[in-house]
Symmetry: C2
Subunit: 365 residues, 2 copies
């Protein structure tokens, strides 16, 4: 009982490591006897049992029921991914397939991503997914400002894809109905009818100078428009190889699987998870870490793809928590990096490279 809170001694790490590895391979709960025999651990099953009981008390393992072995808890997986797992080296066969894809002459980023998804599915045996940049440019067709009271108003956006977005805006200055109507006219004149990607700095400068009396107001509105557009424009999720999930007993409960499917088809949750995470490293989201109910038994690994500082997509893998993290991470990372490198030379959509830095950046806050 000398394990300090939050830190594990070497032996515990070794045992936890072995348990996670075994569980990922075999699927069922793993018991002390199995570890004593099959893994190269030179301890008796009884000692292992003691260690396992402590690991459970510390929250790294759990027991499906009293007479079963242990399975890693979410915390166990997390520790495994952060500290235990050894880096997987892609086999030459895997590298060959990955490189074949990259050598192919697929020009469009979204086609490339689609092909990449298929490959990732077949390499990892898990469901894979990509976020593609939106195929059609979103155009704002109407902007409305609805007066609520002197401090607040409602911003309503209607887009060419018939999506309506509304935002409450707390005004930084006192507003009147007339002010809002004037602003509305100007905003519509300047911002509707052009692709949102084209709402560049010059356009905004022009607009704010024209409306200098309302400067603070305009900047806060623009910011809200930017946010709203971001939500509309978060790209399109493409999922491949859902059938692969069904090979894992984790998904044999039809009802749960149905809910997962529904979530994937709604797309929203996954897009949210992806968009709210950091773009500069491979993200590993284990079970409930996603805060999405139906993902509790699943893990999601993904990496965003950048081009010239701008995130233009993502590629990821969805599978049971008992996922071969090491291999999946290596695959996703390799592919995402290759695509990012290649994307640097590709013109996505209609925007041309030099424009890149002219896009609105959402204010930090």
């Amino acid at each position: 009982m000398n394990a300090e809170f939050g830190e594990l001694d070497e032996r515990k790490k070794k045992i936890l490591h072995a348990i996670v590895n075994a569980h990922i391979r075999v699927g069922g709960p793993v018991g002390s006897k199995y570890l004593a025999q099959h893994q190269h651990i030179t301890l008796s099953s009884a000692t292992i049992r003691n260690e396992m009981a402590e690991l459970e008390a510390l929250g790294y393992l759990e027991q499906p029921h009293a007479s079963a072995g242990r399975i890693p808890s979410e915390r166990g997986y997390r520790f495994y991914v952060n500290s235990l797992m050894e880096k997987y080296r892609l086999t030459s066969a895997e590298l060959r397939q990955l490189n074949n894809l990259m050598k192919s002459k697929i020009e469009e980023l979204d086609k490339l991503l689609e092909a990449a998804t298929k490959l990732v599915s077949s390499l990892t045996n898990y469901t894979s997914l990509t976020v593609k940049p939106p195929q059609h440019e979103v155009v704002i067709t109407h902007i409305r400002l609805l007066y609520l009271d002197t401090q607040t108003f409602l911003l309503v956006l209607v887009t060419s894809t018939d999506i309506v977005k509304t935002k409450y805006v707390r005004s930084p200055m006192v507003v009147t109905d007339e002010m809002l109507r004037t602003l509305e006219i100007e905003l519509n004149a300047y911002l509707t009818g052009i692709p949102v990607e084209r709402i560049t700095l010059p356009v905004i400068m022009e607009l704010t100078s024209r409306l200098s009396e309302y400067e603070q107001l305009v900047s806060s509105i623009i910011r809200y428009i930017y946010d709203a557009v971001g939500e509309i424009d978060s790209g399109d999720l493409h999922v491949e190889g859902i059938n692969l999930l069904l090979q894992y007993p984790e998904y044999s409960d039809v009802e749960r699987f149905k809910e997962l499917l529904k979530m994937l088809e709604r797309k929203e949750d996954i897009l949210n998870i992806i968009s709210e995470r950091d773009a500069d490293s491979t993200q590993v989201i284990i079970g409930g870490e996603s805060r999405v109910e139906v993902m509790h038994n699943s893990s999601l690994i993904f990496r965003k793809i950048r081009r010239g500082g701008r995130v233009v997509g993502a590629i990821g893998v969805l599978g049971p928590c008992r996922m071969d993290y090491s291999r999946v991470i290596a695959t996703v990372e390799h592919l995402a990096d290759c695509i990012s490198k290649r994307a640097a030379g590709i013109i996505p959509g209609l925007s041309t490279a030099p424009d890149d830095e002219a896009y609105i950046k959402p204010p930090e806050d």
Copy 2:
């Protein structure tokens, strides 16, 4: 035993009708007692039993096991769809939703189709699907003619999407290696690098006149190119609401469902089924009629969408054989017709309306 082969007397029709209706509603096998009580049939259960036994002998019904009621056979469903089923009138609520969609300002055909799929799923409670016209124009980048013998050669096409298609061509005239090389150069000069949709009559006229000495050969090659392009270019299948299938006990066998999912993800089978069927009526494919193994327990209903004589997509529904055919057909038909009508005014992709009749038509054979 007076039922003539192939024809059913009124009473049998009435009973078959009632059985199919009840089965579609309830799901389980339906028995004689149930029919005698709940349907407005003024016969005793014993009489119904006799009729059912005959209907089974004639192949319209089958019995899952000796002590169960009857369920319709494929033939039973077919007869029901062709002759028994009453036409479903869309409710005003359904019509409202359908019309809302059509009134929306979605401009692009593929976006419209995607929205339509979602709506069909939610209206019918089955999985729905659309075939969208290909998003990216296919460009042929290389044409190769490989000499095999004096009567045959191999046509190899490489497209911008890195797809390679080969066709054996039986030549209508004796060919030599030199001839093929000359032809190859000309074909490449005229047909590569432009979207296949732009390979219009003028282009072909020009080409054939330039190569008049090989006229028959050229026309047969063009035809093969057209076929091959059709295969490349058969559009993109989009499936929505797969999770809905899982509410039907027909899909509770995980292994079978997995195979179905795999088939849907491969897309090929469904695209084949759709492309080889007639374009001018709603198609109903019941169970094994599709010749696709995993579809044996499922039915597919779809209708193609035309624009100016050209098929530009399709919309359909996939569900258990025990499907509410009447309602699904009404929904699909209504929506497909609306979209076809609207598509007449929409410019899909880059092609402009007046060009329409200038596209190559594949020779009749």
